[in-house]
Amino acid sequence: MIQSLCTVHNVEQVAENIFVLTFISPHIASVTKAGQFVNIRVAEGVEPLLRRPFSVCRTEGECVEIIFNVVGKGSSVLRKKQSGDLIDVLGPLGVPFSLFEDDFDTGVLVGGGLGVAPLPISTATLVARQKSVSTFIGSRSKRQLVKNHLVNVHVATDDGTEGLHGTAVDLLKKHSDEYRYRRPKIFACGPTKMLHAVAAFAIANSIPCEVSLEGPMACGFGICQGCPVELVGAERKYALMCKEGPTFDVRRIRI
């Protein structure tokens, strides 16, 4: 992890209220693994006070992309960044998805809403490792759908405006024949309710599964102790989301 001032390359709207910010950091671009995140100080001064964590969405050359929904103080500031502005970035942080292990042949990517964030970088890794990829993403409607840089994508929308009228989990179940006999491993990111359903499905079908969690955190690397995740069957009660996550094997935690 390093802390550095990075130049904003551009901010681009990719869907309704959803933006991709690209910044330049040769170090972060070269060492970040899928599932890791960066913690960004969006403004000088004290409003907003704390850094904001973002999954790395994609890297290309010296560029790093993050994706965000404009929902609050931090994201409102970020969307207004101009090409050439400087942002203070801490990263890469956290434990990546275990995409480099050989305990699977098919990477099953599941993303709900902005949970698609770590999927492009995951896809790139899986493709480079010559793994099969099946991708299932869901959003509220066609207007919030982001499917850039994904492969073999199945889409669901809550309102039925594109793809299946339903959720990413409905897709995952519906298309299980596509992956279930090809040594699958699920990598999921999205709202807690979705992760809960994905974990239940994975455990019921004996499919290995990792999820990437999201939650409030301050420092992003362990000094504030602010982001506990409840462990199952461990000596201690909590792990820290920022340092021991944000990716976890679903069998280790209570979602």
């Binding site: 006070l49 850094r51 420092c219 000094i223 504030c224 602010g226 506990p228 201690r236």
Partner: protein, 322 residues
């Protein structure tokens, strides 16, 4: 930016109760772990000192999530003293801390007077710890914590018991959640404390109006960050007037100017807390900023700032207002 200045022209170091600090800026307990999380980012040996996360006899899991929430110019936390316990600290963390060229102060939290004593005894047996800060002011635990810190007799008793067990620096960390902090300052001083750490967090809360739920799992928590600086300054001012022992000022320090305010109202040193979450190098930058300020004002010792507040003569226009 500050290159070209002779660093040896200005005295930045200070000795408090026999402990030499290379500068007057320390990092506050609970905001720097055990000193080993930031080594990739900053040269922690440049800090005046590191105060460890509170240590209890046994490991503590801490409180359920959500433990933190941002507020206007601040943050609420309810960590609940999550820590690895004193024995794991001694075997897993202290060897690293010993390698640092900075003062190491162990912060102790407990739910009984005996526990305070036992943790101190365990630390006292080891080399590498320069002193102790006693947390009698955590707002986020059921036992101990604030129930000790809001009772002056208890503060006196805890201080006396610990004083009899160590000759090392002993600082009592006071809560601002009392009517007269001076009463507590005097209680700790009379029982033999070497210093006071002022202040711990203020009790606060926040509500999510859409779910009608509190923002923290424990409903209330501790408020920190720049929002509390004016309160902290007033408490440091009050405490330092009430006692002869040094007061270490804490509360919302984000930059050198903030720290200088604390020194001027009477703090002999300061601790940087919440700012570390945003910039792990904040303490080092603040120490350097204080030195540069002294240089610009022809002061030969940072100590010249301590208690230099001029509250008597006519007030001047506040040029920074606009």
């Amino acid at each position: 930016m500050y290159e070209g200045y002779e660093s040896d022209m200005i005295t930045t170091s200070v000795t408090l109760a026999g402990v030499q600090f290379k500068n007057r800026v320390l990092v506050a307990s609970g905001t720097y772990g055990y000193g080993d999380d930031t080594i990739e980012l900053v040269d922690v040996s440049k800090l005046g000192g590191i105060i460890t996360k509170s240590l209890s006899m046994k490991p503590r899991d801490g409180n359920p999530p959500p433990r933190i929430v941002e507020t206007a110019g601040g943050m609420l936390n309810s960590i609940g003293l999550a820590n690895i316990g004193v024995h794991r600290f001694l075997t897993e963390k202290l060897p690293f801390l010993r390698t640092l060229d900075t003062a190491i102060i162990a912060n102790i939290a407990a739910s009984s007077i005996d526990e305070y004593c036992n943790v101190l005894d365990a630390l006292e047996a080891e080399k590498g710890i320069n002193g102790y800060e006693i947390n009698v002011s955590c707002p986020n635990v059921k036992e101990g914590g604030l129930s000790f810190g809001t009772n002056p007799t208890m503060v006196e008793e805890i201080t006396r018991r610990l004083r009899s067990r160590t000759k090392k620096l002993l600082s009592i960390k006071l809560t601002p959640n009392v009517t007269h902090i001076s009463e507590f300052a005097r209680a700790a001083e009379s029982a033999g404390a070497d210093a006071l750490s002022v202040i711990n967090t203020l009790i606060g809360m926040g509500v999510n109006i859409h779910t009608r739920k509190p923002m923290l799992s424990t409903v209330t928590g501790g408020l920190s960050g720049p929002a509390i600086k004016p309160v902290a300054l007033a408490k440091v001012y009050e405490a330092s007037k009430a006692v002869k022992i040094p007061v270490i000022g804490i509360g919302g320090i984000m930059n050198a100017n903030d720290a200088i305010e604390f020194l001027m109202v009477g703090a002999s040193a300061v601790q940087v807390g919440t700012a570390n979450y945003i910039d792990p190098g904040a303490g080092i930058k603040i120490a350097e900023g204080i030195r540069v300020f002294c240089e610009a004002h022809n002061l030969s010792d940072v100590g010249d700032l301590v208690g230099s507040l001029d509250a008597k003569t006519e007030f001047s226009a506040i040029s920074s207002w606009l």
